[in-house]
């Protein structure tokens, strides 16, 4: 019966629209989404007997009336759905904690003549925020049915279903009066327009448009309207003010705040967190704690998880393959492809889990907003919001959670720029590479080498930000863009935090696997097939990968690597997978040792090995919490001595490792937060700048000064980047001019 009906979900950003959508369509299949970032409309059918179409629209605070050109993407999409007539009923989702602001959209919907059900979400929070809402009174004032739900916990869903059904089958709307009454003169004006067949909404649009025209409409000379315009400005002001006053009145009559205000406690906490001198140090201490906790706890958990994973996905399959004499290709795909990729992706699990949990705590307690405020001024030098600093600092632990933390950044372009800056924040995996190389080649200045590499990375990140600003990617954060609500402090719910962190991590890891597995299989095959097409049991120097490394070493000549250093080149290639793999690759090639295919005689032995490894990892767990510069030198490090390779070349290799394409997981995270196009740009940009810096270092060091070719390459690269920059700038200015051209008349 309801089959041809459509119901739309609408509301402010981050009020739980997608939660409700998923809850209502659960039987059909959940449309997974990151909280608060429904970029486009999702559509699905509901479950149960009477199915109807359900739309999940992106969030918007209010609709831009009579100013379509200035509307944001979300507003435009919502407006286009509103003007189409095929949505039968709107569910206006309201968050219980901040009703006053959200009711504006409700009023707009009602004036647009839409059939609306107000869904007050998150009622489970009511006792926490110490509020009471009289929904019958509110329903009377607004003249709409109101339902209280908690989409997260599934409370009130049956009531909602019942109300939706009754509204869809026998609408109660027709002949309803509009809740907000404007000034008499304006009502007359609106009446006149509605007599011509327009709805109240369309009438308003027409009036506002006419009001903003340079040629004054006739009613400007009406005495009452002229007076109104004199006192408040434009008719848009009159409209907005009347509505907000109505809403305030509504809220005063229906919402009762009980209990003590927490002003005093908030005041004391804010005095410290936003302290003129201590605010910044406290921010860095907080960030460092998150960083340290997630790396420490994460690695400790990783120490337990990884041997188990290796046992299940690498060693056991190897054992079985050997036992049943399965073809080598099967083993390569199963073990070196799928197995290794599972270990790579899943080993992120604990670190991400702890990081997300700590972020959840910061966010829920209310500190995150303060952090953004503290960093706002500094980041504004780059025209970025304070939130991007939080993300960048987290990126120092691991780029993946750093990029995932950019979801707190409200504007899309700022998010993109932060994601572009992220690869240059040196992560923990890169630190191990630097530590090993620095202690072999620069034993006395290891610390200063490490420090300068970090500084180089951070400065390149800021350079990226500056270039982005120069290209016009980030717009100056004018006053128009900054009015941030500061929530009160509250105790976060621990169980919710664990649940949320788990869900976010799980979603990320599963999706990342889709990218990592194919890449891993390809690399594994390249590593085990010789260029003549034979299968190799062990990676050797005639594999496709080695051959590739040797041929590519020509490309790396400007950064000091020669044909005999092909393992370093291959390690760079393998580093695309994850920076952790760089050292493993070098291990395989330099020691010519058989690393992970030490064949155990029985499954028992495998298990024992695994358990011993876990035991050692746990007993050494404390070391993860103590940052140290001295890495345990692996056995093969002796092959990498100053006789084999020039120290300058090593330094430039390290610079390249620091700056080039971080890893597939980061690539995937970037694509997820921005788009594949920007992820591609990020890869090109980071690799290009890495090449330039590494080569530039050598040129400066006088290692290959007389090589004209390299200088030419450098100049060429500079020219190309300059050209690209100019092109981007041109396009951006064109776009801006176009936008201005449209707005000015």
């Amino acid at each position: 019966m309801l089959n041809n009906k459509t119901v739309g979900i609408i509301g402010n950003p981050n009020v739980g629209k997608t939660y409700l959508f998923n809850r209502m369509t659960a039987c059909v299949g959940c449309v997974g989404n990151w909280a608060g970032v429904t970029a486009t409309t999702c559509e699905s059918r509901t479950c149960g007997e009477d199915q109807y179409r359900l739309l999940d629209l992106p969030g918007c605070y209010h609709l831009a009336e009579g100013r379509e050109i200035q509307a944001t993407e979300g507003q435009q999409e919502v407006a286009s759905y509103l003007s189409k007539r095929d949505v039968d009923l709107w569910l206006n989702v309201l968050d219980v904690t901040n009703l006053q602001q959200q009711l504006y959209l409700t009023i707009q919907l009602l004036e647009a003549g839409k059939r609306v059900i107000c869904v007050i979400n998150r009622i489970d929070l009511l006792p926490k925020v110490q509020k009471e809402i009289d929904i019958t009174e509110l329903g009377k004032l607004l003249q709409v049915p109101i339902v209280k739900v908690s989409a997260k916990l599934g409370m009130g869903m049956r009531d909602l279903e019942a109300v939706i059904k009754s509204e869809l089958t026998n609408p109660t709307l027709d002949g309803r009066e509009y809740p907000v009454q404007y000034h008499q003169a304006i009502e007359q004006l609106l009446d006149k327009e509605t007599h011509h067949g327009l709805t109240r909404w369309q009438a308003w649009q027409k009036i506002i448009q006419a009001d903003n025209q340079p040629v004054a409409p006739a009613w400007h000379f009406n005495q009452q309207i002229a007076e109104l315009r004199n006192t408040t400005g434009t008719l848009t002001d009159v409209m907005a003010l009347t509505r907000t006053e109505f809403i305030e009145n509504c809220c005063q009559r229906t919402i009762k705040e009980k209990g003590i205000s927490r002003d005093d406690r908030d005041k004391i906490l804010d005095r410290w967190f936003l302290h003129p001198w201590l605010g910044l140090p406290i921010f860095f201490v907080m960030m460092f704690t998150v960083f340290w906790l997630s790396m420490g706890c994460g690695q400790l958990l990783q120490g337990i998880l990884e041997p188990l994973l290796k046992l299940i996905t690498v060693e056991l399959p190897t054992f079985i393959c050997k036992l049943y004499r399965l073809p080598v290709v099967v083993e390569i795909v199963l073990v070196h492809g799928i197995g290794i990729s599972l270990v790579t992706a899943l080993s992120f699990f604990p670190v991400l889990q702890v990081m997300f949990f700590s972020l959840y705590l910061l966010e829920e307690s209310g500190y995150m907003t303060r952090a953004a405020i503290v960093m706002d001024r500094i980041m504004r030098q780059l025209d970025l919001p304070g939130e991007s600093m939080v993300a960048l600092v987290l990126g120092l632990g691991c780029n993946v959670p750093g990029i995932l933390a950019t979801r707190h950044i409200p504007k899309k372009n700022d998010k993109i720029v932060t994601a572009l800056m992220m690869p240059f924040m040196s992560c923990g995996a890169r630190l191990t590479i630097f530590a090993v190389f620095a202690s072999v080649f620069f034993p006395r200045q290891a610390a200063s080498v490490l420090f300068s590499l970090y500084v180089l990375g951070i400065s390149i990140a800021f350079l990226t930000g500056l270039i982005a600003r120069f290209c016009g990617l980030t717009q100056r954060q004018t006053s128009d863009n900054y009015l941030l609500e500061i929530p009160g402090y509250q105790w976060p719910s621990w169980s919710m935090g664990v649940k949320q962190a788990y869900q976010r991590t799980q979603r990320f890891v599963w999706r990342a696997l889709g990218v990592i597995v194919p890449i891993c299989i390809t690399l594994a095959l390249c590593n085990h097939i010789s260029y003549t097409g034979e299968l190799l049991i062990q990676p050797a120097d005639n594999s496709i990968l080695a051959w590739l490394g040797k041929s590519l070493s020509i490309l790396f000549y400007p950064i000091g690597l020669q044909a005999e250093h092909w393992p370093l080149v291959v390690s760079l290639l393998m580093g695309l997978l994850a920076k952790e793999v760089v050292l493993t690759t070098l291990n395989v090639f330099y020691s010519q040792m058989n690393t992970n295919i030490t064949l155990a005689s029985s499954a028992n032995e495998l298990l024992m090995d695994c358990l011993t490894e876990i035991g050692t990892n746990i007993s050494q767990g404390y070391s993860y919490f103590i940052p140290s510069l001295h890495a345990d030198l692996p056995a093969w490090a002796s092959y990498l001595n100053p006789e084999h390779i020039n120290a300058d070349a090593v330094m430039s290799y390290l610079i390249f490792t620091l700056l080039y394409f971080p890893c597939v997981s980061t690539l995937y995270a970037t694509a997820r937060q921005t788009s594949w196009r920007w992820a591609g740009i990020s890869v090109l940009w980071s690799t290009g700048i890495a090449y330039l810096c590494a080569a530039g270092y050598l040129v400066l060091k006088g290692y290959v000064t007389n090589s004209v070719i390299e200088l030419l390459i450098l100049l060429g690269a500079l020219g190309v980047s300059y050209y690209i920059k100019e092109q981007i700038k041109k396009r951006v200015t064109e776009k801006l001019n176009k936008a201005e051209g449209v707005t000015s008349p």
């Binding site: 605070y61 209010h62 831009a64 100013r67 200035q70 006053q100 602001q101 504006y104 903003n212 408040t232 400005g233 434009t234 848009t236 002001d237 907005a240 003010l241 907000t244 006053e245 305030e248 705040e257 205000s261 804010d270 005095r271 936003l274 302290h275 003129p276 001198w277 605010g279 910044l280 907003t369 405020i373 503290v374 706002d376 001024r377 500094i378 954060q477 004018t478 006053s479 128009d480 900054y482 009015l483 941030l484 609500e485 500061i486 009160g488």
Partner: protein, 80 residues
């Protein structure tokens, strides 16, 4: 109407006289967030780098730019 100097305003109760100096779109946004002409506004704190400012309207706290502050028309309310 002039805006009031940040340092002078700190801790004082002020009244929003008008938002005339903002664009229409921004004005609408400010109204929706509760910054209406005639409302009381208090400058609670200045954040570490001198910007943004922490203000309070009714029970809600906001962080606001100095630029936005400069565009507000405010009036000091004499304390009795």
């Amino acid at each position: 109407m002039q805006s009031i100097d940040v340092n002078e305003a700190l801790g004082k109760k002020l009244m929003i006289v008008s938002l005339r100096r903002f664009s229409v779109a921004k004005r609408e946004e400010l109204y929706i967030r509760g910054l209406l002409p005639g409302k009381m506004l208090q400058l609670v704190q200045i954040s570490p780098m001198g910007d943004p400012l922490i203000i309070r309207v009714d029970q809600q706290k906001f962080a606001m730019n100095c630029d936005t502050w400069a565009q507000l028309d405010l009036e000091e309310i004499p304390t009795c």
